[in-house]
Symmetry: D2
């Protein structure tokens, strides 16, 4: 079952609410021997952190992650890795006003209808704060993939609202701006766009792309363990995600077969419309995945909504919210990509073996 | 694990190769008491069958499904339901030529790299023939959802290659043409397009949409058991799928928050950009999902490729192939939608209960 | 979920009722490359077959197993292996009389209370006929364990009713008598005991032991993936099982720590009270497991019982039943032991790796 | 996968080492609405706590459990419940001496062979300290079972080393002595026995029995989701467990069928040799389970063993250890029984339904 767990052999279980005492996760199935320090995890967390720039929420969490288990003398031991972050900057009073209201576009209504109860403070379990644990677990998976197989993962902002942002791909520029934009010349335009947006009180969506390079062929399995199916679930499980594409994605609808099918020569594939996956199994090409994030629903612009008694109310969300949640999504997308790939590496090793018993 | 199983509480495990003796599935966790006959399953299978029109593959399978277990005196018993279809029209000689070749855009290469062996006949396990079992299992799920909760499911062709086909939605017309096109006036154009395409030897992709109506609020679970995450995996696991959208999907990237968020009044939601899912949980609105299918890769037009010894070869695929696999995808998409929904109904009942022990 | 599936990475899903058209299974996750023929599986099935001697049920099933998928040109391919046996000697008329009765000691009553419906013919899903599929799947696992790791598995009858039968262990004799008794000198006594028992119309229980030799250290995982916990579930899932022991088992209750703990020297362990498992992980010693089977409940001697309307009835079971189901349990115990071990080999390879990507 | 998770729909994942910073667990799938306070969990923890009497280890942990998530305003919300206990009385220096030694009867050797690394302090992950989390999670399950279905669970010490302790069953006496012994007249004898044992430096095993009353018929599922199979795995997963019995257990081997099969009249079953489970499904009778625990292996009496370099060493374990681990096992057995039953209640509700969608 996968209510709050992700993955099969590399299995991440997260817990915690936005304004509860802490959030945490358990990473089970991780191989022993990886050198890891809390500081390395924190470095990844800072990439997604609120407060990175004026364009994201001003909630400031230290995100001091503690390693509670599974690491001994600086290395993973093969036992479950417990990670914990104590919540410090949780201003629950911001939410008093909406504790009886269903914010449009939020999970307030559906949690209420499902459970008959909800922790309304900051979205509770449905808050994007949960994604810190994805990034934390992903930090370990990324390092392991890099060390064991030379796999590298990079995400970027491909579209911000109406603005496409990756026509020029300058890989080195991605980490140098608060948008994860690969085209540094576009950054001033993005800043101006966001400033105007914030002033207007409205929000926009975003498209985040990611690539994994160096992935060996053979990851994935027919027919419900397909690598692309697991990637689709991984990306769609991120807060605000509304669409996922592999390779050419929806553009493949209008393609001809002669155009889409990636021909091969001895030098390798001549194109990569498949996004590195054929029949659900990696081909050795770059894995390409693209995810659509909807615009933030929490706005100070009033909206028509209901309260828990069924009364019509005008809802204004105060609190501290990102006008574009997609800006901070890049490290989350990378983390999910890493987790899926590492899970499939373990699955592949299980079935295909190796000389593990000879030592 | 989910190599060849799908779902959690309603769990479908399929087996079989395109040109092996038979294909089959086991449906586990199905509640007792549903009246079902093999003929009802067959009726669904005929909707996806090859040979339905000149626009799909001319392989003709009787698709006579046998119920091997789990049904007693015409009703499900709660024990696993075994379904089997014997393969009859499997011309393996068609594939002799390509047994040592990797067809571009196919799983030939990746299966070989993963397993070191492959059943090359008709694509073996990666053949779309596997989807008969999805449709068969989906037939039971659809009937159960309809009877228990009044949920109805309908898919349609939204785009064929470059042609958008659902600008006009005539629900009654969908089943009356071989394309599942909701606009009957477009059918002659589609037929002409397909005739020309077939003549050219090339292929195109398709977009298939589906809606589930009458879904109660509350299905789905945070945060890795989200209904949309499971739908994304379900659709992406279908052969040739390259993209999945829920509700507004990728269009939400360019939307403003004030536009996207679906406001509510006492009469209900004012729009459905969310596609019926908020925070991973159904809201009671229509569930809307859209899937992109790539163009068929098996073409008689020659392509550059490799053989299993690494030699460059020119590959021409004979056999009998659909010039647009998406045409037959509609019943498959519907089946996957039904299976995901029913699985989540069972999951919801598990956690939220009901008076099952009082009788 | 595990309603009708067993194992994690080597996953066996069975279906079928005693008197339905067929029984079958799907083996998922099996590595490619094992040479296997239907005849090899049938040989194992014959060891558990009814009709092996006058001391077991006279129902005669040919047990002609068909391999429906997952094997190509005589070798496993890595895709799911579908196995099927058509039921031929199913005399349902034998069961007409008891279709409205709950036989004491049987699952009739509990299936009825759970599902509100039951296939009463021959016990339906609860029949020991299901165990043919365990033995069939186990045949593949045994062969693979032997070839890959040199693991060998042997079971034997340790007790028949009041008679202990393994005070003398003659390994070569086990397969030479219908009881799997390791002491050939006891066989005439066992035959006389069974003849008298059959004449009396009553039944007895049995204890079946099994050993796995050559198991590498390291199989199993803390703390809910313990090898002994999985073995306990495996054995207790067999029809009529009521107890499971690992190593010294219940005798360890009265042991002193100085006696029980297995000391080590450079030559290895000095004893094996642990049964080859410490902390849930194999130690490299022989794995020892013992299972208790209750006496058959289906007797021609009348018993007080209820019918489905709640009336008191006197129940006499005709049909063809084993006076000691434990006699045929040895191959089933061996199969479950093999399936658990192979599953844990795959799990171990997943986490601990090997050079699978270097080729 | 179940390395460190237990259960399917009620799923408990534990983490933490004996001498690490903390131990904890995540309980996923728990229904909303149960009133629960940390104090209630702590009360259960104190029943298994070290330092309860002079007959158990003198390590004194406060076991102050924190509820980190999933409970809001005193009630469960349906989201994952995170529990944490900070380790306070961890004297790692006690273990310096044996950091390079494999203690006989311990998991030291097998962890080393599996992972190539181990947290040697206090047994690390293999320590019985992990069982605090089973008891904590079990506290919630017990309360829920009691409130929802009126199920009550009670365990007791049935045998201490060579002494049978439950010939007289005085239910009220069980909680009034440090042994969970149901016969208060035996307590002085047990105390004398333990005092002598402690003085001798040796240890003994124990048998712990448990009963669940008020369990509705219908829990469990054919054929690998049997209630008894899950109970067997649950009990065998507890540290030091070597055997499990349901109902008559191994005694059923020597029983006649006419004796074992539990006949029924309109007043109910006439006996309970089955232990409340028929065909893997509960019958409504008391569920009876018995577990064997081996004697403690950590002794100050010297033993022959190896160090990690393969040298023969004489091993003396200092530290603070229970001379009979089984004494503290009663609350753990009860917890596992509660967790299995509640998981199966949820599974039953999933398949059999109820009116959950009508509100």
């Amino acid at each position: 079952m996968s209510h709050n767990s992700f993955g099969h052999l590399l299995r991440v279980t997260t817990f915690g609410e936005s304004h509860g005492p802490a959030i945490g996760c358990v990473i089970d199935g991780f191989p022993p021997g990886l050198e890891i320090a809390a500081g390395e995890i924190k470095a990844e967390l800072e990439r997604r952190a609120t407060g990175r720039s004026r364009h994201t929420s001003q909630r400031r969490e230290a995100d001091d992650v503690q390693i509670l288990s599974g690491v001994f003398e600086g290395r993973t031991t093969g036992t479950p890795i417990g990670l914990l972050i104590v919540n410090t900057d949780a201003r629950s009073r911001d939410y008093e006003e909406i504790k009886r209201q269903f914010r449009p576009g939020h999970a307030d209504y559906t949690y209420w209808k499902k459970y008959g109860v909800r922790d309304y403070r900051g979205g509770g379990r449905s808050s994007a704060r949960e994604t810190t644990m994805r990034v934390a677990a992903g930090a370990l998976a990324r390092k392991w993939l890099q060390q064991e197989l030379g796999v590298s993962i990079q995400g970027w902002l491909a579209q911000l609202g109406p603005l496409r942002t990756d026509a020029v791909m300058n890989w080195d520029a991605i980490e140098d701006n608060p948008f994860f934009c690969p085209d540094p010349d576009r950054v001033p335009e993005l800043e101006a766009f966001m400033d105007a947006l914030r002033k207007s009180g409205d929000s926009v969506g975003a498209r985040v792309n990611a690539v994994a390079r160096g992935v060996p062929p053979g990851l994935g399995a027919p027919v419900y363990g397909k690598l692309d199916a697991d990637l689709a679930a991984a990306m769609m499980s991120i807060n605000a995600a509304k669409g996922v594409e592999i390779g050419a994605g929806f553009a493949s609808v209008a393609q001809k077969g002669t155009e889409h099918r990636d021909e091969m020569t001895r030098e390798g594939f001549l194109s990569n419309h498949a996004g590195g996956i054929l029949g659900g199994i990696s081909s050795g090409q770059d894995i390409l995945v693209s995810t659509a994030f909807k615009p933030t629903s929490s706005l100070r612009l009033p909206a028509r909504g209901l309260d828990i008694d069924g009364n019509e109310v005008v809802i204004v969300t105060k609190g501290r919210h990102d006008p574009c949640v997609g800006i901070r999504a890049t490290p989350i997308v990378e983390a999910m990509l890493a987790l899926v790939l590492m899970d499939h590496v373990l699955r592949h090793r299980a079935q295909m073996g190796g000389n593990v018993f000879e030592t």
